[in-house]
Amino acid sequence: MTEATLIQAVNKALHHAMKVDPDVLCLGEDIGVNGGVFRATEGLQKEFGESRVLDTPLNESGIVGMAVGMALYGLKPVAEIQFLDFIYPAFDQIVSELTKFRYRSGGQFPAHVVIRTPYGGGIRGGLYHSQSTEQLFASTPGIKVVVPSTPADAKGLLLTAIFDEDPVLFMEPKRIYRTATGEVPEGDHRVPFGKARIVREGSDVSVFAYGSMVPTAFQARQVLEKTGIHAELVDLRTLVPLDVDAVVRSVEKTGRAVIVHEAPKFCGFGAELAAILAEKALYSLKAPIVRVTGYDTPFPYTLENLYLPSVDRIGRAIQRTVAAG
């Protein structure tokens, strides 16, 4: 165990995977000499060489497409997309190729690629360095969607991703890259997919969050605890596969649900959570399901703090939900 930040944990996972398995390669823009614009790949090229840590030309379709080719061979490529906002040139390769190769070939050609990418707001990155668009990927069958919120999970989930057999989108909450710190197990630490983490138990309301919204929702929960509201905070960890049991069980217990994410509300991931509850836990629900999310607009620059779900905004929603029924 050593103390590390979330970004250091990512680096540790990559380092470990490359060390134990020569079939693990990294590719992406500025990941080599520069170590990645956030330094996630710091030191890797020096240690493992240019043939295993590839600085690529500026083309995301190329990055993912080449990774697909490597994976079809049988390698385990880890592609970095510099910001989630820049993944769209690769969208065709992801939704038409990566997620469909195994299916369309009747299982003959699995393509296991991990795509790592920083996402989310709170760093004054404006329209194109702040977006959360997990719903685009979670709604596409064939790719797992993983969002860690702690350093230990970042390492454990990334190692699980790299040694999984399916494509994985690994979304890194850049806003807490350096503020989230904690103990990280050494070596081959794995955190299984599809198991949510109950951050704190509670009896009055279930709060569902993931990634950088977990610490924010946690603060809101802690503030309310003092007022006698006991919220159960659930960190989903993996959106696909989703721990449906944990979600349903929690609401069966509390009877209320508040869903938090940075992405816009309309058709966001929170909609699926609400739909699952409206199907599987309807009779447990005492109050309307509330979503605290980014607004249904593009991401702003100057006013980003007004846009993002804040401790106060989440707190108010929890209070109201508990008061509602």
């Binding site: 590839l54 083309n59 190329g62 497409g65 080719g69 061979y73 190769f101 195994r102 009747g106």
Partner: protein, 357 residues
């Protein structure tokens, strides 16, 4: 003295292969033609859902595939029937895919012609144009990384040169000196768009300039020319000298697919011009001229192939569809909890007769 009259053996092309091999080449081309003809008919009769013919492109496809080794990777588009045959893919496997039946290696997941054969390093085709071009770069890179002396060959059309992944594939291959032979069949049309409206470049081969490696234009209806160009490009690639773009100039004699009516956009004259350049006729007359075999032998070959295809089709048509619950396989390496639930519900619906296979 007319050109025809002057024809002597010395005017014939320098054969690229010994005659017994050329006979096999011709047989493969004729087999592709026989399958093509049969399938167009099956589709018209409503026995096959859809078909993409390759008529006219046999020399380009067989010429390229003949120059490859078993370890090489083929990254096809949807028109590469003759490539699959040259790779030794059993006709039965191909037909099973066309019918999407229970024996289809792809489990009936894709439209006809979108086959894939792992054993032959023949990638599973997708419809989106151009995407396989960059996969070839990844495969080539990975193969070299693992110490294999092989190449990857993306097959694509004139239209695909406009795609995003043509650009990224060519550029990445240039940068990494990846052992790739980019094989473009310029068949003059992308559905209804003629080559000259697809791009304003003088040739398609010249596009290699933009990526710093050689581009070669060859007569795609001349088996020898294609074979030699690919062989040379392959040798360069495995020697570490980098990729090559080959533009094989040919013609799509049939419609784009059975859904297309080319009379809407092209003239009978154009068709006639290219009919006169039929690649099978060309190789055949060369072999006839050299006395390697006779017209009668060729006719009986065709007969043999047609009846073989006929028989195979009969067998394949006996197969039923894939099992209903196979719907849920291969999305993931193993069934996800989510799909497990959906599958359970599906099975219930099957039992209740709400869903009828």
């Amino acid at each position: 003295m007319s050109a025809a009259a002057s024809r002597t053996t010395t005017d014939l092309p320098e054969p690229s292969l010994p005659d017994p091999d050329l006979l096999k080449v011709l047989r493969t081309m004729a087999l592709a033609r026989a399958v093509d003809e049969r399938c167009m008919n099956l589709q018209r009769q409503g026995r096959l859902g859809f078909y993409v013919p390759l008529e006219g492109q046999e020399a380009a496809q067989v010429g390229c595939a003949w120059a490859l080794q078993p370890g090489d990777w083929v990254c096809p588009a949807y028109r590469e029937l003759a490539v699959a045959l040259t790779r030794g893919v059993p006709l039965r496997d191909i037909l099973n895919q066309l019918y999407g039946n229970s024996a289809d290696l792809s489990k009936g997941r894709q439209m006809p012609n979108h086959y894939g054969f792992r054993q032959h390093r023949f990638l599973s085709a997708s419809s989106p144009i151009g995407t396989q071009i960059i996969h070839a770069v990844g495969l080539a890179y990975a193969s070299r990384y693992k110490g294999e002396k092989v190449v990857a060959v993306p097959f694509f059309g004139d239209g695909a040169t406009s795609s995003n992944d043509f650009h990224s594939g060519m550029n990445f291959a240039g940068v990494y000196k990846a052992p790739v032979v980019f094989f473009c069949q310029n068949n003059q049309w992308a559905i209804s768009l003629p080559r000259e409206k697809q791009t304003h470049s003088s040739t398609l081969a010249i596009k290699a300039n933009a990526y710093g490696f050689p581009g070669v234009q060859v007569d795609g209806n001349d088996f020898h020319a294609v074979y030699r160009a690919v062989k040379e490009a392959r040798a360069r690639a495995v020697a570490g000298e980098g990729p090559t773009l080959i533009e094989a100039v040919t013609y799509r004699m049939g419609p784009h697919s059975t859904s297309d009516d080319p009379r809407r956009y092209r003239t009978p004259q154009e068709l006639a011009t290219w009919k006169a350049r039929d690649p099978i006729e060309r190789l055949k007359s060369e072999l006839l001229a050299r006395g390697v075999f006779s017209e009668a032998q060729f006719e009986s070959l065709q007969e043999e192939l047609r009846s073989m295809v006929q028989k195979e089709v009969q067998e394949v048509e006996k197969m039923g569809p894939p099992a209903a619950t196979s719907l849920f396989d291969d999305v993931w390496a193993s069934l996800s909890p989510n799909l497990e639930e959906e599958r359970k519900e599906f099975e219930e619906l099957l039992r209740e007769g709400v869903i009828r296979p």
